[in-house]
């Protein structure tokens, strides 16, 4: 077992001038850093960071898609500190919500700029960190809509006997491959694949923006071997792909995460990449288990997310009783240990099985089909959004009496959010001085209120003003009824 700092040093020596990181600007301009360069820069910065912060400090680090950005994230990991990568484009209110969850459950995160300032020009620590130190924290929505930190304790490491994870090996990953990195570096899948790519000595190609035409150019020009995508990326690339059927011929593996993917898009990709080279995986950030599905399996079992990969799956009813194949219930998984889990992990219950509350069924052959996520979870453009949280933000507006947010199917984003809002009586809006008079609150104002407080993917695509939400006597929303209302055109 070689920890990431030792592995970087090793790769710097053995791979030398081979490119480690290539960032690509929208105009086609590229910046490149060799393995020797990456190793020197990251380890020097890590040594100074380590001298400037106590062990196990949680460092909030922006996931900039630049050479500097990647070096800084890796330096936090190599310093034996705990990296908390965050999306730099998220609005301050959303970041505060995330940081405060980490503060409550783990430790107060230290902002990277302060630490980098203290570290710059300072002395380097004289000893390397111990393997058990450090790690990283990723945030997941959890069932309550409150961000839940999931800690992977201990410095990331490479196992020379084993190589990268078995799942990646099965999904076409080869050591030293050229790998395209898209998606926010603050999210589990892109972050983990970036990390595995560094440990594998891959060349990582990181486009600054996701623009379909330039991305396909990059895949061809840089001879990309391996790509991880979300279904939204696939949908956005589909039209460009139709005009260039050979663009992905050289690619040895495309792995996409499981979120509702339109069947047409899935088939187009299986066609473009090849049925034995397109893979889908389903896993939760909590790491309770995973599935894998190859293109040819999907063609034989359309709509599946695959079979458990080193994971056993059970479907249970609300009372925990086992359900037979074909019946929808809560998905319980038992994966192999080895995930280094910390606070915030879902503890296994009976027989080692655990659930994150997703619903689905197994067919007779053991293939899993997801029928929907835990009640209020929507996946917009591959990102988890808890509709309850968006509704709560809308309800924080003094002019709003009640609100519900419902996800409607969307061809491109997978889901789009529709807010149903009941306006309050005008007297209750005394605080709104900017709006003179008694004009009723508008949908536009509600949207503006959301824009100031939510990230782009959390914003309602539409705000509808309604008289009443028809809440049940226990205060719960009649979700099915609301979905039907939302399905009707205005």
């Amino acid at each position: 077992m070689i920890t990431i700092d030792a592995r970087l040093k090793q790769l710097g020596q053995t791979l030398g001038e081979r490119p480690a990181i290539i960032t690509a600007a929208p105009d086609g301009g590229c910046e490149e850093l060799s393995w020797a360069g990456l190793s020197d820069r990251v380890l020097a910065l890590a040594g100074r960071m380590r001298a400037a912060a106590g062990p196990d400090t949680v460092v909030a680090i922006p996931g900039y898609r630049s050479l500097d950005g990647v070096c800084q994230v890796l330096a936090v990991l190599c310093a034996g500190l705990i990296a908390l990568p965050y999306e730099p484009s998220a609005p301050p209110a959303e970041l505060e919500r995330q940081f405060s969850a980490v503060r409550d459950r783990l430790a107060a995160p230290v902002p990277a700029p302060g630490l980098l300032g203290r570290a710059s020009g300072g002395p380097a620590a004289d000893r390397p960190p111990a393997a058990g130190q450090g790690g990283y924290v990723l945030l997941t929505g959890g069932s309550t809509g409150v961000p839940k930190p999931v800690l992977r304790a201990g410095m990331p490491f490479f196992h020379p006997d084993k190589g990268p994870s078995l799942l990646l090996q099965t999904a076409g990953w080869r050591l030293g491959q050229t790998q395209l990195v898209v998606g926010s570096l603050a999210h589990a899948a892109p972050f983990n694949h970036l990390l595995e790519g560094v440990l594998s000595g891959n060349t990582l190609v990181i486009p600054e923006l996701f623009l379909p035409g330039p991305i396909l150019d990059l895949i061809e020009r840089r001879h990309i071997d391996w790509i991880q995508l979300t279904p939204t990326h696939m949908r956005l690339l589909e039209p460009a792909l139709a005009g260039r059927p050979g663009a992905l011929r050289r690619v040895s593996g495309v792995l996409h995460t499981a979120a509702p993917c339109p069947a047409g898009t899935k088939r187009a990709w299986i066609e473009a990449v090849g049925p034995r080279r397109l893979f889908e995986m389903y896993a939760a950030t909590e790491d309770i288990g995973q599935t894998l599905c190859r293109g040819d399996e999907w063609l034989a079992h359309p709509g599946t997310v695959g079979r458990g990969f080193l994971t056993r799956i059970r479907i249970c009813d609300d009372d925990g009783r086992l359900l037979p194949p074909g019946q929808v219930g809560t998905v319980h998984m038992r994966g192999l240990p080895g995930s280094r889990s910390g606070p915030g992990t879902t503890r296994p219950g009976r027989g080692g099985f655990a659930t994150v509350g997703d619903h689905g069924l197994l067919d007779e052959d053991g293939y899993l089909y997801l029928s929907g996520r835990a009640d209020d979870l929507a996946i917009v453009g591959g990102e988890n959004v808890y509709t309850e949280h968006v509704a709560a933000v809308i309800m924080s507006h003094p002019g709003v009496a009640d609100a519900a947010v419902v996800a409607a199917p969307d061809d491109v984003l997978g889901a789009r959010l529709i807010a149903l809002v009941v306006r309050g009586r005008l007297e209750s809006r005394g605080g709104l001085e900017s709006r003179g008079g008694d004009e009723p609150l508008t949908a536009r104002e509600i949207l503006q209120h959301c824009r100031d407080r939510l990230a782009g993917h959390q914003l309602p695509a539409e705000v509808r003003l309604v008289e009443d939400l028809g809440r049940l006597p226990n205060g719960k929303l009649p979700r099915e009824k609301l979905r039907r209302i939302v399905a009707q055109p205005v």
């Binding site: 006997d161 990969f309 080193l310 240990p337 219950g349």
Partner: protein, 181 residues
């Protein structure tokens, strides 16, 4: 088997940090009496690993207990948990004791596979019907096992095969089937 050996096994289990209580149950399995320790645990525990824990601590002196049964978590836990329901456990064990009892490997292939399992799982021994997951298998031991199967038996066993068969006996059967083509 001496009765004092069995008492030792119960003591060893009671001292285990995850075990709340342990009692001895005797059941008929395949026409002979098997001694099984029924345990209540704090958190999820593998019965096979608890059995091996006892086996190792008692110096491998034999069948101090034939198996360990971990009580299922109740639907509605009561404070203190009440006594272990021996009648219910006896009834369950009549059906399912073979899941937790140590079954010695039979024949060359099972013996070689059991040795291989023990090696990758870093255990002193592995029974023929023990499940890979229950034995604490992780992705590293799975990778080692698959690599060794490929090397020694030239067998294309993948991770799905491993989890579906999962035991030494099941894997031996699969390897024989593949050999026959």
């Amino acid at each position: 088997m001496s009765s004092s050996g069995v008492v030792d096994a119960i003591e060893v289990l009671r001292q285990h940090p995850d075990v709340v209580d342990a009692v001895l149950v005797e059941v008929e399995v395949d026409g002979r009496t098997a001694s099984i320790a029924a345990v209540r645990v704090n958190d999820y525990c593998s019965p096979q690993l608890l059995r091996e824990h006892v086996h190792d601590l008692l110096g491998g002196t034999g069948k101090a207990v034939d198996g360990v049964w971990v009580e299922e978590a109740p639907d509605h836990p009561v404070p203190g948990g009440g006594a272990i329901d021996l009648a219910a456990i006896r009834a369950t064990l009549r059906e399912r004791a073979d899941e937790v009892i140590f079954v010695a490997p039979r024949g060359d292939m099972e013996e070689q596979l059991a040795t291989l399992y023990a090696e990758v799982l870093e255990l002193s021994r592995v029974g023929a019907t023990d499940d890979f997951m229950d034995l604490g298998g992780d992705s590293l031991s799975a990778a080692r096992l698959l690599a060794a199967l490929q090397e020694r038996w030239a067998a294309e066993i993948d991770v799905f095969d491993l989890l579906e068969t999962s035991t030494v006996r099941g894997l031996a059967r699969l390897l024989r089937e593949r050999e026959r083509g």
